[in-house]
């Protein structure tokens, strides 16, 4: 891409990334949550790859990394559900942490943790799909 696109991307992509993190962390207070924030973060990464491009080896390493991130995130989600089984009243997805005051940033028990896990999972999944498409098109040339 041209240097105009690269410069604008360099300026904008950090802001998009921080916006995604904000959407995930405030998911229990404002509209948004893990799904929206994860998709926004994946969009930031996709923008980076589209603007800068990359050679094959780097892309393959990135794909392996994001695939591992996705697996770890879904594992964390499951582990939190299982921990609730042992700590709470023998029910999966039981909210065992203190609830706090409605409207505070640290409140709602385990819901922010679930939000973070789902956000990482969605971001890694969408970015992996995009990288698989790009690698396929590069290899089949």
């Amino acid at each position: 891409m041209t240097s105009i696109v690269k410069t604008v991307t360099r300026l904008v992509v950090g802001v998009i990334f921080i916006y995604g993190i904000y959407i995930i962390l405030h998911g229990h207070l404002t509209p948004g949550g893990g799904f929206a924030g994860g998709a926004i973060i994946a969009g930031a990464f996709i923008l980076l790859v589209l603007a800068y491009g990359s050679d094959m080896l780097k892309l393959k390493a990135k794909e392996a990394g994001s695939s591992v991130m996705e697996s770890l995130a879904i594992l964390a989600f499951l582990l939190m559900a299982v921990v609730a089984f042992f700590l709470g009243t023998k029910v999966f997805f039981h909210n065992y942490l203190p609830k706090g005051i409605i409207g505070d940033l640290i409140s709602a028990g385990v819901i922010p943790l679930y939000n973070i896990a789902v956000g990482i999972e969605v971001a890694a999944a969408l970015f992996t799909i995009f990288l698989a498409l790009v690698i396929f098109k590069e290899e089949s040339k």
């Binding site: 998911g27 229990h28 509209p31 909210n95 709602a108 999944a125």
Partner: protein, 185 residues
């Protein structure tokens, strides 16, 4: 409200018809974007900001995927005629008539069944389900989450979210398997 949303859905239908009849694939994909972004406006009017945020990002990513797929396909994909027209026969032949009649009859039948099926719903804007009243009354206190949608998603309906995460994981594995050119040595 009902009229405004109906007009927006009308635009979405026009966009969908254009996308299905477009002469080349790039305009088809971009016309498909009309439908998705119209859905964002509908979600905002229906007081669903969570869905609007998700849908606007997801629609953009879908467009990127579709353009990436069709980008190096040849431009003469859709050049052939829609209706095969034999020499010496009139344009309105039997096959044409049969096609049009079938489409109209089945669309009418499905519309009739649909209008029977939605008879149980209250008029637009007044439908209240039992579960939703329970969730709205107790949701904030039982989950501690100010956003009721997030509270339902991760507390009352945690299994739904777990299933969704599993489907996403499976889809990614399937895509990686389909798109791998060389087997691992």
């Amino acid at each position: 409200m009902e009229v405004i949303i109906s007009v927006i859905i009308g635009f979405m239908i026009i966009g969908a018809i254009f996308a299905l009849n477009a002469k080349d694939l790039l305009s088809a994909v971009i016309a498909c974007g009309i439908v998705g972004y119209g859905l964002v406006i509908c979600f905002l009017l229906l007081k669903a900001p969570d869905l609007a945020i998700v849908q606007i990002v997801v629609e953009t990513i879908t467009l990127i995927f579709m353009v990436a797929v069709i980008l190096d396909s040849s431009s003469k994909e859709l050049n052939e005629k829609r209706w095969t027209h034999l020499e010496g026969t009139s344009y309105i032949n039997t096959r044409f008539v049969v096609n049009i009649t079938t489409v109209i009859v089945f669309a009418g039948l499905l519309l009739f069944f649909f209008s029977q099926a939605i008879d149980v719903l209250a008029p637009f804007g007044q439908h209240v389900t039992r579960m939703s009243t329970a969730y709205i009354e107790n949701g904030a206190n039982q989950t501690g989450s100010a956003n009721l949608v997030t509270g339902i998603l991760f507390d009352f309906r945690g299994y739904d979210t777990l299933g969704e995460a599993t489907i996403l994981f499976t889809a990614v594995i399937g895509i990686l398997t389909i798109l791998r050119l060389k087997g691992k040595q």
